[in-house]
């Protein structure tokens, strides 16, 4: 590339990591041709299809990204799954820089007997369904009076809240009425939320627990031991949040949510459909059976086996995942780079770092196209 030239850039995936990367590269290269591809017809990844529909403030970040396409001359090409509809090799031959921002979409499995039974649903599937993802449908989903949620991170908190919100309210924030009626159905009486961590290491954010306290007609319980002052203030905040939620909830209510801390899932029972989930206490080995009409697993995300683009297939001698470099002219960012952790803002910091690596490579003439 000559002195006056600017690189052409393809970003694969239009979630927050891809969009923030486009923002940072646009600032440095006002005239570069930047194109974002996505396998779906519409942009924004998990901001559109993961973030809960009642969190309008969080979803609003997409309005920042809208401007990329409306004013800043970034092109969006939807309905192209790279690795399927167009090969990555083709893309790398066409563009000086290719950035993979395809996320991690598969629900992590429990890895226990019975997990394949009807009535066990991944949280990714359920949250995509709630958000109207074109790949999902209601087919085969059957809930009941009792739902067990495995996992206690923020996605589990979203599922508790959405399940207990009136269907009309969900429809009011854009959820399909049939989906709202299914997820937040009036039959629901009990939710058991089970985590392998003790309360001191539980994965939820305190703000998410506080939000649960705003839901009417729910009794909350917890099996965590009543602890004194913990040394670590963050730990203390988590304990206080759960205690406050439990103490401020009515003694009798139409629905009950039980938090179980320190239990490892060991087995799922039932004929064809689930009937109970068995857990083992982390420290004592004690068993606990929780009756269940349905089970949501919310224990994190991983690369889909059928993913059309796999990060580790492109590891080369110059790979440096710390800075997002995969191969010459090929980069990765966001969940795909660093794993399924962190909120939307964390992807901005990530995108800034990877953009800086790209800019540095450009300035050091490291972007010459290679034949691949």
């Amino acid at each position: 590339m000559g002195q006056n030239q600017v690189p052409t850039v393809a970003i694969v995936g239009s979630g927050p990591s891809g969009c923030y990367t486009a923002q940072f590269l646009r600032k440095r290269f006002p005239d570069a041709q930047i194109t974002i591809f996505d396998r779906l017809p519409m942009p924004y990844g998990l901001v559109r299809f993961g973030v809960a529909p009642d969190h309008a403030g969080t979803k609003a970040v997409t309005q920042q990204f809208d401007r990329l396409f409306e004013r800043d001359g970034v092109k969006f090409v939807g309905s192209i799954e790279v690795g399927k509809d167009k090969s990555l090799e083709e893309l790398r031959a066409e563009f000086d820089v290719v950035v993979l921002a395809t996320g991690l979409s598969a629900d992590r499995q429990l890895g226990i007997p019975g997990e394949e039974k009807n009535g066990v649903y991944g949280s990714g599937r359920i949250t995509r369904l709630i958000n109207g993802h074109p790949d999902e449908s209601l087919e085969g989903i059957q809930l009941g009076e009792r739902v067990v949620i495995v996992g206690q991170g923020n996605v589990a908190m979203d599922l508790i809240r959405l399940s207990l919100t009136h269907p009309e309210e969900l429809a009011g924030v854009g959820v399909d009425r049939e989906v709202a009626d299914l997820i937040a159905h009036s039959m629901l009486k009990q939710i058991d939320v089970v985590g392998r961590s003790e309360i001191s290491d539980a994965k939820f954010d305190v703000a998410m627990v506080k939000e649960l306290g705003k839901i009417a007609d729910v009794r909350f319980t917890s099996d965590a031991p009543i602890l004194g002052e913990e040394g670590d203030p963050e730990t203390q905040k988590r304990i206080d949040a759960i205690n406050t939620l439990v103490d401020n909830s009515p003694v009798t209510a139409g629905r009950v949510v039980n938090f179980h801390f320190g239990w490892v899932p060991s087995e799922i029972n039932g004929e064809q459909h689930v009937s109970e989930a068995i857990f083992t206490a982390k420290h004592t080995g004690e068993r606990k059976a929780l009756p269940a009409d349905a089970i949501y697993t919310a224990i994190g995300f991983t690369e889909a086996e059928a993913a059309a683009v796999k990060r580790d297939a492109h590891i080369s001698e110059i790979t440096d995942l710390e800075t997002g470099r995969l191969a010459q002219g090929l980069y990765c960012v966001g969940w795909l780079r660093r794993g399924p952790r962190g909120t939307i803002p964390a992807n901005r910091a990530d995108a800034k770092m990877v953009s800086e690596a790209i800019i540095e490579d450009f300035e050091n003439n490291q972007l010459e196209k290679v034949t691949v």
Partner: protein
């Protein structure tokens, strides 16, 4: 002659920066500059400029990551800011308990150090599902008409 306007933003997910750019784009007939708090040297504060501070809130009423080094420098160096005038616009989400507290911490710190806040305290609530840009621009236009 009107003072140059320096728009200092503190952000975590980019909304404050986005609004700061729109504020600058709508300033007519006077010098202006948009600066990330992270990149700002607090020794550069001067009464020759007018400052617009736009800052969000994260965690539980905490500063956004982009404001942390700025706040830390003010705390460590305790510069004398008397004569410095600023207007402030806070970003937050009223569905959280500590609504808009991040900007308030910056406001308090600047005033402790002798700077003077002028005009109305601007605010934006993300719970409305909107971005702050439109209200921040309207607020800044009114502020700058008299400062």
């Amino acid at each position: 002659m009107s003072k140059k306007v320096v728009i200092l933003f503190g952000t975590e997910s980019g909304n404050a920066e986005f609004a700061a750019e729109d504020i600058a784009a709508e300033i007519d007939g006077r010098d202006s500059e948009v600066v990330d708090m992270t990149d700002f040297d607090i020794a550069d504060f001067t009464s020759d400029n007018f400052y617009i501070i736009i800052c969000s809130t994260h965690g539980e009423g905490d500063l956004p990551s982009g404001a942390v080094p700025f706040y830390g420098a003010l705390e460590a160096d305790t510069p004398d800011l008397s004569g410095v005038e600023f207007g402030i616009f806070g970003l937050g989400d009223s569905s959280y308990e500590n609504y808009s507290k991040g900007s308030e911490r910056i406001d308090e710190k600047l005033r402790d150090l002798g700077a003077k806040r002028v005009g109305d305290y601007g605010r934006h609530d993300a719970d409305t599902g909107t971005l702050p840009n439109a209200s921040a621009v309207a607020w800044s236009q009114e502020l700058l008409a008299s400062h």
